[in-house]
């Protein structure tokens, strides 16, 4: 499985969604130190599907945000399958504004099937919450590094996805729509999801090729939290991949910290500005 860039897209989707993969909180507690969680949007509620807090990466204070899924039935329900509601996105922005106030960089971890599609979420302005985050993150004056660790599900992922660097774990995916949703609409047949996954070009190698992301974080073995489930020849795959992720974050952060603020802001704008494939 080593650096298998030819892996079928649908296999990547399945791997990205696998419940034994590390979630945001697993990463917070493993590669960061002194994580302290910050709760609530101060407007309506605390959304357990999006976790935020302060942490230390090595000896640097950072803000971390990320969508959080659950492993067992209770956790899944609590975390709403990693689908944030407006209050989750508003909490994330509140905490990111704290990062700006105290001049600390932001590390954002994406892992969601999408923003929650429900009556309450619509009533409280799901679209507005996402849109506002996009505009405000574009203007945050501190360095932002985004990592897609599992599922990058459309607008609900992008809502914490504007940054100076966008990285993807080798087996993560990032897409405008789920393969199942795409298949249901375009083929009128959810059974065509493997084909849809292929067509959507949602894998990390594809997106790097299109220059929609900056870097891939390799997964030399199966990336699982529970060591018993890891490859026999790589007992501590979580630790080794995690350590690698940590180093890559530190390298990118060092680069961004050195940069002049105006230059960094200009680069962030240009990075998204050039995305697109049009004629004329």
């Amino acid at each position: 499985m080593e650096n298998d860039f030819n892996k079928q897209a649908i296999e990547r989707v399945q791997t990205a969604r696998h419940p034994s993969r590390p979630y945001a909180l697993d990463i917070f507690s493993s590669i960061f130190e002194n994580f302290v969680e910050i709760h609530g949007d101060r407007r309506y509620a605390d959304d357990p599907a999006l976790v935020c807090g302060f942490a230390m990466l090595g000896d640097e204070e950072v803000v971390v945000v990320g969508q959080q899924k659950g492993r067992d039935t209770n956790q899944r329900r609590l975390r709403n399958f990693g689908m944030p509601k407006p209050e989750g996105y508003r909490k994330a922005l509140r905490v990111m504004k704290l990062a700006e106030k105290f001049k600390r960089p932001i590390l954002s971890f994406i892992d969601t099937p999408g923003a929650y599609p429900g009556i309450d979420a619509e009533e409280r302005g799901q679209a507005e919450a996402i849109a506002f985050n996009l505009r405000e993150m574009a203007g945050l004056k501190v360095p932002i590094i985004v990592v897609v660790i599992g599922e990058g599900g459309s607008g609900g992922a992008l809502a914490i996805g504007i940054g100076d660097k966008v990285l993807m774990m080798e087996n993560s995916v990032y897409s405008v729509i789920s393969p199942e949703g795409c298949a249901a609409i375009l083929w009128k047949d959810a059974g065509q999801s493997a084909r849809a996954a292929e067509c959507l070009r949602l894998t990390a190698p594809d997106l790097l090729r299109y220059e929609l992301i900056d870097e891939i974080i390799p997964e030399h073995s199966v990336w699982v939290v529970d060591r018993k489930e890891a490859d026999s020849d790589s007992e501590s795959s979580f630790d080794s991949i995690g350590e690698n992720l940590k180093q890559i974050l530190q390298r990118n952060l060092e680069e961004l910290n050195k940069m002049d603020e105006n230059q960094r802001m200009k680069n962030r704008y240009n990075k998204f500005r050039k995305m697109g494939a049009w004629i004329g």
């Binding site: 599609p117 203007g139 729509i177 997106l207 704008y269 049009w278």
Partner: protein, 288 residues
């Protein structure tokens, strides 16, 4: 079948996409809401709004701009910018063919047309989306055209107005489409800092990635009456929560009640309302 005669299903379930647009043949059109016969000419003069019940038919993007600018005069912008096919996407037919078919049937180069002109004497860069072009979906070309509008407005200190009518991001351009949300919102951040106005007008329907980016970022957000506006589509929500949605859910009036839009404005009063807003927002003091 039950013993009572079934009432005609309500509008939402009943009206197909085809019916919402005025058919292009015949002198008469029947209103889909109140069933009154309407002269085609009369309907055109009333901006495709029923003169009996105020039902808003879908408006064509070109007509939208023609009736917006002072004296109907404006400079068309970026007509040459059209979709690429970065993923070489093929579902039941190739994306390329879908684009060609859309161009033919809609007479438009893309799902948005844009132009520059004056409204009430104010310099405005405006775009209007059209459901007739692949469901008004936003791909790279739409994203590029809107971003250019915003960048020009920043440079020349004009206002930006976008009329949305869209099912969301265009699937056939995958993550490229998704990133248009980021691109446009980043440009709007600069427009905002430059103290220049963005008026967002939501028309039927505005959903998905369009709502979740620029459409909800207006300094003032106007909705046309009874337009469907939301992040998730009603069908997706029903499948998720496994229950029927309340009546009027995700319609303009519902959004007004929940504080998500500033006003619901009849299309026939749209231009006057926009001029009123621009008079307030276009402040020479902010240019300093």
């Amino acid at each position: 079948m039950s013993w009572f005669s079934r009432k005609k299903p309500k509008l939402e379930e009943q009206v197909s996409d085809e019916e919402r647009k005025v058919k292009t043949e015949g002198i008469f059109v029947k209103c889909v809401e109140c069933e009154s016969p309407l002269y085609r000419r009369e309907l055109k003069e009333s901006f495709q709004v029923c003169t009996h019940c105020d039902y808003h038919f879908r408006f064509f993007a070109r007509e939208r701009l023609d009736t917006l600018f002072d004296n109907g005069e404006y400079e068309k912008l970026d007509e040459e910018v059209i979709s690429g096919d970065p993923l070489e996407f093929v579902d039941t037919k190739p994306y390329k063919d879908r684009v060609e078919a859309a161009k033919k049937s809609s007479g438009l180069p893309e799902a948005i047309v844009s132009g520059k002109g004056t409204i009430g004497g104010h310099l405005v860069y405006a775009g209007a989306m059209d459901m007739g072009f692949i469901g008004g979906s936003m791909g790279s070309a739409v994203g590029e055209k809107i971003t250019r509008l915003i960048e020009r407005a920043i440079e020349k200190r004009g206002a930006v107005i976008v009329f949305s009518a869209s099912g969301g991001a265009r699937m056939q351009e995958g993550t490229f489409s998704l990133m248009q949300m980021a691109k446009i919102s980043s440009a709007l951040a600069i427009l905002h800092d430059a103290r220049l106005p963005f008026i967002s007008v939501l028309t039927d329907p505005t959903t998905g990635g369009v709502t979740a980016s620029f459409a909800m970022l207006g300094d003032v957000i106007i909705a046309e009456p009874k337009a469907l506006i939301g992040f998730a589509g009603p069908r997706v929500i029903e499948q998720t929560i496994r229950q029927k949605l309340p009546k009027g859910f995700q319609r303009s009036e519902f959004l007004l009640e929940h504080g998500m839009v500033d006003m619901v404005v009849d299309r026939r009063k749209m231009r006057d309302t926009i001029i009123r807003l621009l008079n307030f927002m276009m402040n020479e003091e902010t240019a300093k």
